[in-house]
Symmetry: C2
Subunit: 168 residues, 2 copies
DNA sequence: GCTTCGAAGTTTAGAGTTGAAGTCTTCAGC
DNA sequence: GCTGAAGACTTCAACTCTAAACTTCGAAGC
């Protein structure tokens, strides 16, 4: 009963032993994909931790920067984009407010609404993360030629379009 | 302030606007990867829900089936493989026990240990999930030729090896 | 103008996770 | 064989998320 995870090939062999009608080539793609994503998440998580940031905080910073100056969004909008409930958003903002990453004020044009803004500290944190992340991503892909990178991107996007169609 | 997520290309353009030193080709691969994995997780999650199973339960069933007959593991082993703490494992097992998916008994060879076993119901659930999942995965890849599938698998595995090396 | 309905956030209760402390069992040294 | 240390799981408290009830504000109908 080893504690370590079996290698990808071992795992696929095991699946086939337990369930015969399985296309090994399909499994190879799907399982490599999910393992890769999980390990990349671990790597990103460690990087964030060195900057004293949680993954949850990073997600919110990203959305705020991506709307562009003046870096403001309503909580409901962020929640929808991140796939969270409004309640979770309220609590996240509370914590980020305490950490000095964002501001929260009433929208004077429609006082039901609230406006979340990015602080200079938040903007600076975003930049630090981007620097680390892009270095890591470059390292990750350094063995792939330009052609291979393009090819990989194309193939992934074809799958992405298909799964998106499936979800609608 | 649109609620919808920007398209992949839009998103990369935005990143470049906010952070100049970014390789768009690298971003395309990395972002396609994470979007694809997230959406596939949503799709799998919906399938599991139709069988009355949670993602957490599915992970545990998978580990138990993968060790092969007689489908037994120690809690600590499952926890390590899933990247969970022992405490979380205890509670998951509690719930799965109540759902009739697994059994829990003391290991008589070493009474510190506990043995988690798969019930027939658990085994049957696993099979049902596999049938649904493999149909979905085949659908997902149906546009890709055999060569493209092999290529995609190879490229992903090269990235996987690299990120694994990075994490050690 | 008053009422009612809908929209946006917040609050509250419940489920699942983590980290730390606690319990029980085994094993090595004496 | 007794004692202390280490290992495996459980218990407990704190945290984060979801679902649902609640509050506040704005707009439409009469």
């Amino acid at each position: 009963m080893s504690d370590r995870q079996p290698s990808l090939d071992e795992q696929i062999a095991i699946y086939q032993r337990e369930y015969r009608d399985l296309d090994p080539q399909v499994e190879r793609v799907v399982n490599a994909l999910s393992r890769l994503d999980r390990r990349m998440s671990v790597a990103y998580g460690r990087q964030l931790a060195t900057l004293g940031l949680s993954g949850a905080e990073w997600e919110v910073l990203k959305e705020l920067v991506m709307v562009g100056s003046p870096y403001q969004l309503w909580p409901g909008t962020i929640a929808k984009r991140l796939g969270l409930t409004p309640a979770a958003m309220t609590h996240r903002i509370d914590r980020m407010l305490a950490a000095g990453l964002v501001t929260r004020e009433r929208d004077e044009e429609n006082r039901v609404r609230v406006i979340i803004g990015l602080t200079d500290d938040g903007r600076e944190k975003w930049l630090q993360v981007m620097r680390q992340a892009s270095a890591f991503e470059e390292y990750l892909l350094q063995d792939l030629s330009n052609e291979e990178r393009a090819q990989l991107g194309d193939l992934l996007i074809r799958l992405l379009d298909r799964v998106s169609a499936h979800l609608d």
